[in-house]
């Protein structure tokens, strides 16, 4: 009886409170409505931004920067919604659903490789003219490459990322292996060296290397470079045809090369989290985002270039979240103006410094510390010299999903040719269905 009373009182209280909340909600909607009204009369333009919830320094950056902008531009008021992004595809699902109801914000942050997918489907619109030619030249080539679809700029990122080979000095010493170079890419480990060393480094207690970042987008992001180095494109340049590319001999050979690491036990397919950091792997294909944790640890580590092909071709992963203007934006010019400011050298430098990511503009580094030496300098060098964006195609979402599952299948023993043939036919069918003229 007591319990029931308690429940009733509790329910009643919360109900009343939440109804009041609903009331507030309605009134705030009304306010928004007024603002839309005034927008029509030409006073104030309201822009909204969606971007994934980020680390606290970035969240603070947003608050600070938007306050500054709104103060200086009473005619263009900008607000941002942090979208809580899970470690899976939740954010993309949110965009998908919002598309069906035309509830997209004016400016949308999208993960780099999705630019072509969204652009081809008209979710985001070109932002030509947002940056001067001079400004464009200041952005890294891979940043521009990532944001471009069909010859037009659709998205621009403020930060970049790169992947290099991290190694545990103690383990290399124990195996009698020389440290790979961090000063000349010509002395980077080749495919053969990488494989042989992984074999030598594997012991009872730890594996030779860690090549699996995650079982989704991370596969095409980090490992896709091996395809580039082997001159095996995953898809035709216009992004329309996969058959003859993803299932080419060179492509299959690349997959089989990587599969040997897993199948011979030199790398784990399900690496435990922090495998390298905790000494369970001797080397790791790790990202620029791993540096901070390594610096904090007491581990004896070094860094070298992303492995190069046996004939010396070097490539390295790039890409990060980029801002784009959506089809639901009614004031594209205002959005462009804001974007030009948002992605200014100064703002990017502050953003990148806050989270220790490489900035996407060369001039930003004048205002950033720590990028002229050590692991960060190497990452930056890779970005400027060997960075390659992921392939661009309207069918990218299918390519990425299928490529990831094909690779995992090959790693767990499936026939590479059959798997890659499946990817090719699936991607081509998708393109045929939705994008072919």
């Amino acid at each position: 009886m007591k319990l029931k009373k308690l429940l009733c009182v509790g329910l009643a209280t919360v109900m009343t409170m939440s109804l009041t909340a609903c009331g507030n909600n309605a009134s705030s909607n009304a306010v928004n409505g007024d603002q839309t009204g005034s927008k029509a009369s030409g006073d104030t333009i309201n822009l909204t931004i969606w971007s994934p919830t980020d680390e606290e320094p970035i969240e603070n950056w947003w608050v600070e920067k938007l306050a500054a902008w709104n103060e200086a531009h009473p005619e263009i008021q900008v607000s941002r919604e942090a979208i809580d992004r899970s470690d899976s595809y939740a954010y993309e699902n949110k965009i998908t659903t919002a598309t069906t109801s035309n509830d997209l914000p004016d400016i949308l942050y999208v993960d780099g490789p999705n630019v072509s997918y969204y652009a081809a489907n008209g979710i985001i619109v070109p932002m030509e003219g947002a940056f001067s030619e001079e400004e464009m030249a200041d952005f890294m080539p891979s940043t521009v490459q990532q944001g471009t679809y069909d010859g037009q700029l659709y998205a621009i990122a403020g930060t970049e990322s790169s992947v290099a080979l991290f190694y545990n000095k103690d383990y290399l010493d124990a195996a009698g292996i020389q440290y790979p170079s961090d000063s000349d890419v010509k002395d980077a480990w080749t495919w053969t060296e990488f494989y042989n060393n992984a074999e030598k480094l594997t012991t009872e207690d730890y594996v030779g290397t860690n090549i699996i970042m995650d079982k989704g987008e991370g596969l095409i992001y980090a490992l896709g470079q091996f395809w580039t180095e082997n001159n095996a494109d995953l898809i035709s340049e216009d992004g329309a045809v996969a058959d003859g590319y993803v299932n080419s001999d060179a492509s299959i050979a690349t997959a089989e090369y990587l599969a040997k690491f897993i199948q011979n036990g030199y790398a784990n397919l399900d690496p435990v989290k922090d495998e390298f950091l905790n000494g369970y792997a001797a080397t790791m294909l790790g990202g620029s985002w791993n540096i901070a944790d390594l610096e904090k640890s007491d581990m004896n580590w070094g860094v070298s270039y992303f492995p190069v092909s046996d004939d010396g071709k070097a490539s390295s992963p790039t890409g990060d979240w980029a801002a784009a203007i959506t089809k639901n934006c009614e004031n594209v010019d205002a959005a462009k103006e804001f974007m030009n400011w948002l992605m200014s050298s100064e703002n990017i430098a502050a953003y990148a410094s806050a989270i220790a990511k490489p900035a996407s503009r060369t001039s930003a580094y004048d205002q950033m510390e720590g990028w002229d030496e050590g692991a960060r300098a190497l990452m930056l060098w890779q970005l400027q010299n060997t960075g390659t964006a992921r392939p661009s195609s309207p069918s990218y979402s299918v390519l990425s999903t299928d490529f990831a599952s094909a690779l995992l299948n090959i790693f767990s023993g499936a026939d590479a040719k059959t798997e890659m043939d499946n990817v090719a036919s699936d991607v081509d069918e998708n393109y045929e269905t939705y994008y072919a003229e």
């Binding site: 319990l3 909340a21 919604e81 942090a82 470690d87 990202g287 904090k296």
Partner: protein, 285 residues
Amino acid sequence: MIKSKSSMKRSQTLGHVAFYLGNLIIGIIFVSPLLWMIASSFKPESDIFANMTSIMTFIPTNFTIENYMEVFGRLNIPQVLFNTLSYIAIVLLGDLLFGSLCGYALAKMKFRFRGLILTGVIALMSMPVEAILLPLYIEMAQLGWVNTMMGLTIPFMMNCFSIYMFYSYFLDIPNDLIEAAAIDGCGPIKTFFKIIMPVAKTVYATVFILDFVARWNDFMWPFLITTGENKRTVQLAVQVFFGTQPIHYSAIMAALTLASIPMLIMYIFMQKYYVQGIASTGIKG
């Protein structure tokens, strides 16, 4: 005589020991993820995934409350709790009230389409929400309910499982009770609220817990239908810590621990009602 008595006593003690020991060992296997989560929430990040094969993984040797400080610093906990509880309250109110009314009508009354409704409820019981998320969202958009409290709550106010639970329970309520009320001049609706509801506490408690747990744990629907930090529910708030590479599990473990505790407490306190409630619906299948 004396001998056999003492041996009986001994075997009883043995039974006791076996009972507690056996349950303890198996119990630890079941509760270990929860313990690991709680232990990890008090560890610095670098310790969480080290020593996974030793018992040390369950002991925070470098004890820290830093993770909780981070969670409290990043999240507006009172607001998150308020959002979640108000959302659950509305859903539960609908579910408990309308679900029990419907279950009762199906069990004890004759009316048009009764058979059809009952069959429909049973057939739709196993419909996975994951398969209809997008159509449901499209419907919400057409109603203009995206990013509103209505869109968040109303679609989940009713589920076939609760109706079925109530139905199974009410099937067994003696007709005499209802008839006595009828003779006293109570109409059927009045009978329900005055006579039936008070005796059905346990089934309400059961549906309450089941629904509460389901809503508390739901991530996808609140995520898709609402936008904005001020509308965050518990599961959305936990995702805040999954945002950026590299993912740091220390804060996640603290956030998840905080998110699990209310449910665990509720379970412990309502266990009695829960068992009775299931008992009264389960046995009739």
